[in-house]
C-alpha cells in the first residue's frame, strides 16, 4: 500500500493545490479582495502570488521527500516512477498555476 501511495502522492498533491488555488480565487473574488490595497498591490494579488509560491514549495518538498532515503521506495521501479511523477507534478504546478501571477484580477 505504501508503494501505491508513493506513486500517487505527488500528482494528488498537485490536484489538491490546483483545486485550492481555484477555490482561493473564488473566495477572494467573492470577498472583494481585489479592492483591498496591501503595500502597492491588492490583497487578491498578494494572496494569489503567495499561494503560487507556497504551492511550488510544497510540490518541491514532495519531490525532495520521495528522493530522500526516509521515504524512497526500496523497489527501484517504484522509486523511479514516483520521482518521475513528482517532477511532473512540479512542472504541472508551475505551468497550470502560473496564471495566478499573470492574471491577478476577478474580471
Amino acid at each position: 500500500m505504501k508503494d501505491v501511495v508513493r506513486i500517487v502522492i505527488a500528482m494528488l498533491v498537485w490536484l489538491a493545490l490546483f483545486s485550492a488555488l481555484y477555490g482561493l480565487e473564488g473566495v477572494g473574488c467573492a470577498a472583494g479582495w481585489q479592492h483591498i490595497q496591501v503595500t502597492g498591490a491588492t490583497l487578491f494579488q498578494a494572496a494569489m502570488t503567495l499561494a503560487f509560491f507556497v504551492a511550488l514549495l510544497i510540490l518541491a518538498a514532495v519531490l525532495v521527500g520521495l528522493r530522500s532515503p526516509l521515504f524512497r521506495s526500496a523497489s527501484p521501479f517504484i522509486a523511479h516512477i514516483s520521482i518521475i511523477l513528482a517532477v511532473a507534478a512540479l512542472v504541472a504546478g508551475a505551468w497550470t498555476l502560473f496564471p495566478a501571477l499573470a492574471l491577478s484580477h476577478c474580471a
Binding site: 500500500m1 505504501k2 508503494d3 501505491v4 506513486i7 500517487v8 500528482m11 494528488l12 498537485w14 490536484l15 490546483f18 483545486s19 488555488l21 481555484y22 477555490g23 480565487e25 473564488g26 473566495v27 473574488c29 467573492a30 494569489m48 523497489s75 521501479f77 517504484i78 523511479h80 516512477i81 518521475i84 511523477l85 511532473a88 504541472a92 505551468w95 497550470t96 498555476l97 502560473f98 496564471p99 495566478a100 499573470a102 492574471l103 491577478s104 484580477h105 476577478c106 474580471a107
Partner: protein, 827 residues
C-alpha cells in the same frame, strides 16, 4: 493426480450450473466478463442505430424524418447509451474477463460482487431501454443541464429515467472498480511484483481508481437534481440560492475524467497488443506507467474547460486552459512509446494491427483538435457547434472503439479457441475507417461554418446541405462496416476451426491455458519472474497443467486461490471463494426496486426495498463467516499460508478502503457544493441560518469520538485474543448518541423547499446519518457474530473492517455537524 484428472476435478469445482440457472447464479469471472461484453455490444448496436437516425434526420435540410421532440430523445439516448451503457461496461467486461488470466489467478477478488455489478448494469440499462421504447426517454441532452432538465422545463418522467437509471448503472461501475483495484493489488501470481505486472493491469488499475474518484460527483449531482425535481429542493434554482452552474461543476467533475476513463483501458489494449504485433517488448514500460498515472490526475484538473462559455473569471479560465494543454504531454509520451516500439520491432500487418493504425490516425487528430478547444478564444468560437461533436467522436471512437476492435480480434482466439478463418474483418475495417473519417471530417467543417450541435433541422440556405449529406452517407458506410464485424465474429464463433493455444506468440499468462479457457483458469497458480513469463518459459503452460505450482491439488469442493503482498508479489494468504449463488441477482433486484420506487414516486417501496438490501447484505457477509480456525494450510511447494479471513487485512478490508475512497469523494463533492453556493451562488446569504445547538454538537462529537474509540479498543482486544465486548458496547453507545444528534439537527434543517441553504444542510446531515446507521448496523452484526462465534478466528479481520467504516462515519458526522452548526458564525 495427472493433468486430465486435475482438469476434471477443478472443472467440477469451478463450473457454473448448466442452462439458465447458470446464467442467474454464476459468479465465475469468465462467465460474467462474457456476459458484460455481450450486453455492452448490444447497447453499442442500439446506440449505433440511434446515431443512424440522427444522421438520417440531418442528411437533408428541413427534414421531416422525426419531430424535434423525438429527435431530442434520440440524441440524448445516443450519448447516454454510448457513454454509460457501452463504453464503461465494455471496459468492465474486458477487465473482468481478462484480468485474472493476465495476473495468473483463478478469479477476481469478489466473485459475487462481479455478478451483482453485472445485474445492476442490466437492470439499470433495461430501465433506459424501456424509456426509449415507451417514448419516455430523456430528452435534455446527455449533460442533463438544469434549468432545461428541471421540473419546470422537463415536467415528464423522461429526465427521471436518466437520473435514476444512470445512477443505478453507476452502482455497477463502482462495484467493478473496487473489484478491479483489489484484484490487481492482491490477487496476482506469486512473484509478480508491481514492476512485473502486465501493462494492461496498470491501465486497468489507474482506470478503476479514476472511476472511484470520477463517478461520485455525478452520483451526487443526480441525487440532488432528482431531489429538486421530486421534492422541490432548490439546489440549482438561482432565485432560491441555488445555481445551475453547480450541476455543471458536478457533471464535468465526472465528465472530463470520463473521457480518460474510456481512453485509458483502450491505451492498455494498445500497449498490450502492439508489442506482440511488432514481435518485441513495449518500449519505456516505466514511462508509460508514469504517463498513465499523470494523465489520470491531470484529467481531474480539466473539468472547467467544458464551461469556458459560462462567464468564469479570466484567471479561472487560464488555470484550466493551461491544464488542458498540459494533458497532451503524457498522451504524447504514450504515443511516442508506441511508435518507438514499432520502430524497434518487426511489425506485421495483421487485423489487430490495422485497427491500431486506424487508432493512431484518428486519435491523434482528436487529440490535436482537443488542444485547439483547450485554447479559450477558439473554444468560444467552436462551443456547442458540430465541431465539438466531431472532436469528441475522434477522441472516443478513435481512442476507444478502434483499440477495442484491435483487442477483440487479438483475444478472439483466446475467447473461442478457434482460428480466424473468414476475412470479412479486413473489409469491415476499411468501411469503418473510411466511413468514420468521412462522417466526422465533414462534421468539423459544418461546425466551423456555424452549425450548432443538437439541432433537429437547418435551413437550405445555410450552406451545410452537401456537407451533411456527405457526413450521413459516410456514417452509413461505417454502420455497414460495424455490421460486418458482428457478422464476422458470429461466423468465427460458430463455424471457424479449432486453433492453436497461442497463435500470436504472446508472452503473457492468458495464453498459458487451454482455449477457450476452463472455469478455473490455471490448474496450478504459476510463479512469475518476468513481465512475459510465457516468452521466458515456453513450457510454462504444460507445467501449470501438471500442477507443478501452487494449489495444484484440488481439496474437496473448495474454490481456492492466493493473495500476495501488493508490492512484492510474495504469497500472503489462501482465499476460499464462495460458490455459485443467486444472492447477487436477488440483491441487484432489491437495489433496483429501491431505484424503481424513486422513479415511479411510490416512496413506500424504497424503505421496503432497502430492508431487503440490508437483509441480503447481512446474509452475504454472514456466509463468509467461518466458526473454525483452520490455521496455516499447505498451498503446495512446501508453503504454509493462513486463510485470508484470519489476517488483519482481509480482502474485505481492502475492498472497504477503496469503497470508502469513492464515498469520501462523494462527501467532498457535497462539501464543494456547499462551499460553491456559499461563495459563488447568487442570492446568498439565506434569510435564516441554522442556529447553533450546543446539545446537538456536544452529543454528536462525543458520540462520534466514542464510536471510533470503542472500535479501536475492540480491535486491540481482538489482536490480543481478549473479549471484544467492552469496545463494542462503547462503540454502540457512541453510534446511538451520534444518530440522536444528527436526527435532531435534521429536524431543524429549515424550510427545505424555500432556500438552497436549508436543503443543502438537510442532505449533508442525512448523509452523515445514513453512515452513522451503517456503522451501527455493522457494530450490531459484529456483536452478534461475537456472541455466536465465541473466539472465532475471522473476527480480527471483521473488527478491522467495521473499524474502518466506523472511523469514516465518525469523521463525516463530526465534519457535517461542525460545518452546519457553525454556519451562522462563518458569514
Amino acid at each position: 493426480m495427472n493433468a486430465l484428472a486435475r482438469h476434471r476435478a477443478l472443472s467440477r469445482i469451478w463450473s457454473s450450473q448448466p442452462g439458465w440457472r447458470g446464467v442467474i447464479s454464476t459468479v465465475n469471472h469468465s462467465d460474467i466478463g462474457r456476459m458484460f461484453l455481450l450486453v455492452a455490444t448490444l447497447f453499442f448496436l442500439i446506440g449505433g442505430v440511434l446515431a443512424m437516425l440522427i444522421r438520417t434526420q440531418l442528411a437533408t435540410p428541413h427534414s421531416a424524418f422525426v419531430a424535434p421532440a423525438i429527435y431530442d430523445q434520440i440524441f440524448t439516448m445516443h450519448g447516454t447509451v454510448m457513454m454509460f451503457l457501452f463504453a464503461i461496461p465494455l471496459f468492465e467486461g474486458a477487465a473482468v474477463y481478462l484480468l485474472p488470466k493476465l495476473l495468473g489467478t483463478r478469479d477476481l477478488a469478489y466473485p459475487r460482487l462481479s455478478a451483482y455489478g453485472f445485474w445492476c448494469y442490466v437492470f439499470g440499462g433495461l430501465m433506459l431501454v424501456f424509456a426509449l421504447l415507451a417514448g419516455l426517454a430523456p430528452d435534455s441532452g446527455w449533460f442533463m443541464y438544469p434549468p432545461l432538465s428541471s421540473s419546470a422545463h422537463s415536467p415528464g418522467v423522461n429526465t427521471d429515467f436518466w437520473l435514476i437509471g444512470v445512477t443505478f448503472v453507476e452502482v455497477s461501475a463502482i462495484a467493478a472498480a473496487v473489484e478491479i483495484c483489489v484484484s490487481i493489488l492482491k490477487f496476482r501470481a506469486p512473484g509478480m511484483s508491481l514492476d512485473l505486472m502486465p501493462i494492461f493491469a496498470w491501465y486497468a488499475l489507474v482506470t478503476a481508481l479514476m472511476i472511484l474518484m470520477g463517478f461520485p460527483p455525478l452520483i451526487l449531482g443526480s441525487i440532488l437534481l432528482e431531489l429538486e425535481r421530486a421534492f422541490g429542493f432548490p439546489f440549482f434554482e438561482s432565485a432560491l440560492g441555488g445555481s445551475p452552474l453547480l450541476w455543471q461543476h458536478l457533471f464535468w467533475l465526472f465528465g472530463h475524467p470520463e473521457v480518460y476513463i474510456i481512453f485509458l483501458p483502450a491505451a492498455g489494449v494498445i500497449s498490450t497488443v502492439l508489442p506482440v504485433m511488432a514481435r518485441t517488448t513495449l518500449l519505456g514500460y516505466r514511462w508509460v506507467v508514469a504517463a498513465a498515472v499523470a494523465l489520470a490526475f491531470l484529467s481531474f484538473g480539466l473539468w472547467v474547460h467544458h464551461m469556458f462559455a459560462t462567464g468564469i473569471p479570466h484567471m479561472g479560465l487560464a488555470f484550466f486552459s493551461a491544464a488542458s494543454t498540459l494533458v497532451a504531454v503524457p498522451t504524447g509520451i504514450q504515443i511516442f512509446a508506441w511508435l518507438g516500439t514499432l520502430w524497434k520491432g518487426r511489425p506485421r500487418l495483421t487485423l489487430p494491427m490495422l485497427y491500431i493504425i486506424g487508432f493512431f490516425f484518428t486519435f491523434v487528430i482528436g487529440g490535436l483538435t482537443g488542444v485547439m478547444v483547450a485554447i479559450v478564444p477558439f473554444d468560444w468560437q467552436a462551443h456547442d457547434t458540430a465541431f465539438i461533436t466531431a472532436h469528441l467522436h475522434y477522441v472516443l471512437f478513435g481512442g476507444f472503439v478502434f483499440p477495442m476492435l484491435a483487442g477483440l480480434y487479438y483475444w478472439l482466439p483466446q475467447l473461442t479457441g478457434r482460428k480466424r478463418f473468414f476475412r470479412i474483418g479486413e473489409m469491415a475495417f476499411w468501411l469503418i475507417f473510411l466511413g468514420f473519417n468521412g462522417a466526422f471530417v465533414a462534421m468539423h467543417w459544418a461546425g466551423l461554418l456555424g452549425q450548432r450541435r443538437r439541432i433537429a433541422w437547418y435551413p437550405e440556405d445555410a450552406g451545410w446541405t452537401a456537407i451533411n449529406l456527405f457526413s450521413s452517407i459516410s456514417s452509413f458506410v461505417m454502420a455497414i462496416g460495424v455490421a460486418m464485424v458482428v457478422f464476422d465474429i458470429a461466423l468465427h464463433a460458430l463455424l471457424a476451426i479449432r486453433g492453436s493455444r497461442n497463435p500470436w506468440g504472446a508472452g503473457t499468462l492468458e495464453w498459458a491455458m487451454p482455449t477457450p479457457p476452463a472455469a478455473y483458469n490455471f490448474a496450478s497458480i504459476p510463479i512469475v519472474g518476468d513481465r512475459e513469463p510465457l516468452a521466458r518459459d515456453p513450457a510454462l503452460a504444460n507445467k501449470i497443467a501438471r500442477g507443478e505450482y501452487f494449489l495444484g491439488e484440488p481439496r474437496g469442493e473448495l474454490r481456492e486461490t492466493l493473495t500476495v503482498d501488493a508490492a512484492s508479489g510474495i504469497p500472503e494468504a489462501l482465499v476460499i471463494f464462495p460458490g455459485n449463488s443467486t444472492l447477487p441477482i436477488a440483491l441487484a433486484a432489491a437495489t433496483g426496486a429501491a431505484f424503481l420506487g424513486a422513479l415511479i414516486r411510490v416512496y413506500w417501496v424504497i424503505p421496503l426495498a432497502l430492508l431487503f438490501v440490508v437483509g441480503l447484505s447481512l446474509r452475504w457477509g454472514w456466509s463468509q463467516h467461518a466458526a473454525n480456525c483452520p490455521g496455516f494450510q499447505n498451498v503446495g511447494r512446501a508453503t504454509l499460508l493462513p486463510q485470508a479471513i484470519e489476517t488483519d487485512r482481509s480482502p474485505g478490508w481492502w475492498g472497504s478502503v477503496f469503497l470508502l475512497v469513492a464515498d469520501t469523494v462523494l462527501f467532498g463533492s457535497l462539501f464543494f457544493g456547499y462551499a460553491f453556493l456559499w461563495t459563488v451562488g447568487p442570492n446568498w446569504p439565506p434569510p435564516q441560518w441554522l442556529s447553533l445547538s450546543v446539545l446537538e454538537l456536544a452529543l454528536g462529537l462525543i458520540g462520534a469520538a466514542a464510536a471510533a474509540i470503542g472500535l479501536h479498543v475492540a480491535a486491540r482486544a481482538a489482536s490480543r485474543g481478549a473479549s471484544l465486548w467492552r469496545g463494542l458496547l462503547i462503540a454502540l453507545a457512541g453510534a446511538a448518541m451520534t444518530i440522536a444528534a444528527l436526527a435532531m439537527t435534521l429536524t431543524r434543517a429549515g424550510q427545505l423547499t424555500d432556500y438552497a441553504y436549508g436543503a443543502t444542510v438537510f442532505v449533508m446531515i442525512a448523509y452523515a446519518l445514513i453512515h452513522a446507521a451503517i456503522a451501527a448496523i455493522m457494530i450490531c452484526s459484529l456483536a452478534y457474530r461475537t456472541l455466536r462465534g465465541g473466539a472465532s478466528c475471522p473476527r480480527k479481520s471483521n473488527v478491522n473492517i467495521v473499524r474502518l467504516w466506523t472511523d469514516y462515519a465518525a469523521f463525516v458526522a463530526a465534519t457535517s455537524l461542525v460545518a452546519t452548526q457553525f454556519s451562522s458564525y462563518l458569514t
